[in-house]
């Protein structure tokens, strides 16, 4: 029973002997690379690249549901890719713009404290 299922998967026209299996599988590598890059400093994030990832992810989420047959693997992959892109973009925005705000806050608190000493 299990053997014939495995055989039908192995010999499938979009199975592991074909590019139609491996190309979408390898596409997960992009999202995984992005997740690994979560721990990299925010200076190294590229806005154009992450925005491209978000847009590709969103467009292919819809694409995967509109083609026949529906491709749930591609759907999950695309949603995940868009999510990682969104997270990286917010990380970088926080680093680029919010970091100035927290720095300014610290400076003003420091000057207030030095005034208290008088």
């Amino acid at each position: 029973m299990a053997a014939s299922k495995l055989q039908s998967f192995w010999n499938h026209p979009a199975g592991p002997k074909t590019i139609f299996f491996w190309a979408p599988t390898v596409k997960w590598g992009i999202s995984i690379a992005n997740v690994v890059d979560f721990s990299e400093p925010a200076e190294r994030i590229s806005y154009p690249q992450q925005v491209a990832l978000m847009c590709t992810g969103l467009i292919y989420s819809r694409f995967s549901m509109v083609i026949t047959p529906k491709n749930w693997n591609l759907f999950g992959n695309s949603i995940f890719m868009a999510g990682t892109g969104l997270y990286q973009v917010t990380r970088k925005i926080r680093h680029d713009y919010m970091a100035e705000l927290t720095e300014a806050k610290e400076q003003s608190q420091k000057s207030l404290r030095s005034q208290d000493l008088h």
Binding site: I19, A23, A33, Q49, C55, I59, Y60, F63
Partner: protein, 108 residues
Amino acid sequence: MASFRAFWNSPVGPKTTHFWGPVANWGFVAAGLADINKPPELISGNMTGAMCIYSALFMRFAWMVQPRNYLLLACHVSNETVQLYQLSRWAKGQGKQTEHPMAIKYNA
């Protein structure tokens, strides 16, 4: 005019997602070109390497899929070129991290 209308109303035309899917993939090429002069320290080896593998496989996918998708093929050939170039820049920069001209030297 008639050919534009045919394109506009095509079942794989700009009113459908079948068009915008491959167009979205050109975004990777555009992003790569936008970053072409970025200092190598800022390139992500993980992402660029993953892109190289991804585009290599999808070139074959675009060729073998029925019907053959030349637009997708062109997109991934371009992306492969750009990403391999960025990967080579990243690799060259790997051994030279400490010699960046902006690096502050505290010797003497």
